[in-house]
Amino acid sequence: MIRRLYLLGILIIGLLIFLPLLGLEGYRLRLITLIFMWVALAGCWNLMSGFTGYIDFGPVAYFGVGAYCTSLLMIKLSLPFFLSVILAGVACAGLSIVIGLATLRLQGAYFAIATFAAAEALKQIILEGDRILGVDFFGGSHGLTLPPPPSGLFFYYAMFFFMGMVVSLNAIVPRTKFGYGLRAIREAELAAELSGVPTLRLKVRAYMMSSGLIGCLGGVEAYWLTYIIPDDVFNVMRTIQMVIMTLLGGMGTVFGPVIGASFLTLVAEFLGARFVYDYLIFVGIVIVVVILLRPQGILGKKV
């Protein structure tokens, strides 16, 4: 059974790598690239919230900061794209230590509120920074325009690379000592601390990993779209999508975010094509139905 699953996995990976060579292009290529991005983003959220049980309601902060860092590095310093993305990821990981050390002492809804507030605050800083400081740096609500990007194929593989990394981390982490520590925190934090688990340090580390990768993804998307504005890259809808995709697929599972993100992106895309104005109603109905039938997520284990 496990053997067959591995085989299936390798088959799918192979297919995804060679798909563009078999004539996948245009809209379909874009759609699959989009799915890769959401799978990766939901997976990042799962790395933090799925394993530690701390509901992060501000992951979009790092998506936005990553997008802006990458753009600024490419525009102002003319750094190459990949270097910019990696530096953006490092910057986001660094920022997450500061925010994490402050917010990860809070529990339950308070943590969610604090991270949500942090994301909104960062958006306002970038929106208003230029006006307050009297400079022309972030571009305010006009946003930033990046250098012309390479073909869609480039982003297909870039997103595929990050998705592969995130999914692998989701598979590997729970089997490591680090992963056991995180799961212990999720199940009973005080008991974990009393068993010698340095809870705050592990939580910050998980938060860093998740945030750094989200930052990289923000950078890739910025270059892909070539034009970013705070209202889009810091849009709270992105946070909500990451959360819903993961919950739909199954929180704390390896493939939950993969299934949830693919499913929701496809549903939104197909319904959006057919019912341009009110497709969100149908997306909502689909989510409600799934939650009624499988409250623990499509792949989640029943507790």
Partner: protein, 240 residues
């Protein structure tokens, strides 16, 4: 005998309530110390102070003559003091084996191979082999108490603070728990908080009595049971 653990004038206040007041005692290597007192007398608070869950307002706590007063719980645990809780807190979604494995991995900071071996050893010691694959959240109370004990043992602690390990057990289960504690005694020094008098009086070599956060008596179980202040605290003035 060396003083393994020592509390010097420890106090803890919650608002207007003085939960533990100027409490001092010392624990000698290898003994079993019983800590008894009526409900709400401060036993659990004292344990939480030693384990680092709370920081004392006053006083000092020394372990092997070094102060551990302000250390976070995970450092105290790694240093060698583990606590079980009155209300069991299993890692519900993990199996019994994994619960103990986490404690071995982190409490003793062991590499994988050794942590696994240690978890096996503890699993056998607390007689949970048969239940190793079950989810910790689904096993009955008596087993959960043993799991708490196993988790504390797997951290490699030299001092175990056992908060009501026998609460809610049947007489037969208490008997088994006592036998287990005598086995555990070979590895660690124990402090027991217990309401089951027969158990605590039978097994402890020395007993401390705490009432309204203060120590009111100390001595062998027989001495303490005769102490008028202790009788008064438990039964009222009429019986003292």
């Amino acid at each position: 005998m060396i003083k393994l653990l020592e509390c010097r004038g420890v106090s803890k206040r919650f608002g207007a309530l003085m939960a533990v007041r100027n409490f001092s005692f010392s624990l000698l290597t290898g003994e079993i110390l019983g800590l008894i007192g009526p409900n709400g007398s401060g036993k659990t608070t004292l344990f939480n102070l030693i384990a680092g869950v709370y920081v004392p307002d006053e006083g000092e706590i020394l372990f092997k003559e070094k102060s551990i007063t302000r250390l976070p719980p995970h450092k105290i645990c790694r240093g060698g003091i583990a606590k079980t809780s009155q209300i069991t807190m299993p890692f519900s979604g993990l199996t019994v084996y994994e619960n103990i494995l986490v404690a071995a991995l982190y409490g003793q900071n062991l590499p994988w191979r050794e942590a696994r071996a240690e978890a096996e050893r503890v699993l056998t010691l607390v007689e949970l082999d048969k239940h190793r694959g079950e989810l910790a959240g689904k096993i009955p109370v008596a087993l959960r108490r043993r799991l708490e004990l196993g988790r504390a043992l797997a951290t490699g602690a030299e001092v175990l603070l056992l908060d009501e390990v026998m609460a809610g057990l049947t007489p037969g289960e208490i008997e088994e728990a006592l036998i287990l504690l005598l086995k555990v005694k070979k590895q660690a020094t124990l402090i027991l908080v217990e309401h089951v008098m027969r158990a605590v009086m039978g097994i402890s070599e020395r007993v401390l009595v705490i009432h309204h956060g203060e120590k009111i008596a100390e001595g062998t179980p027989a001495q303490v049971a005769e102490n008028p202040e202790v009788i008064q605290a438990y039964l009222g003035k009429r019986y003292a």
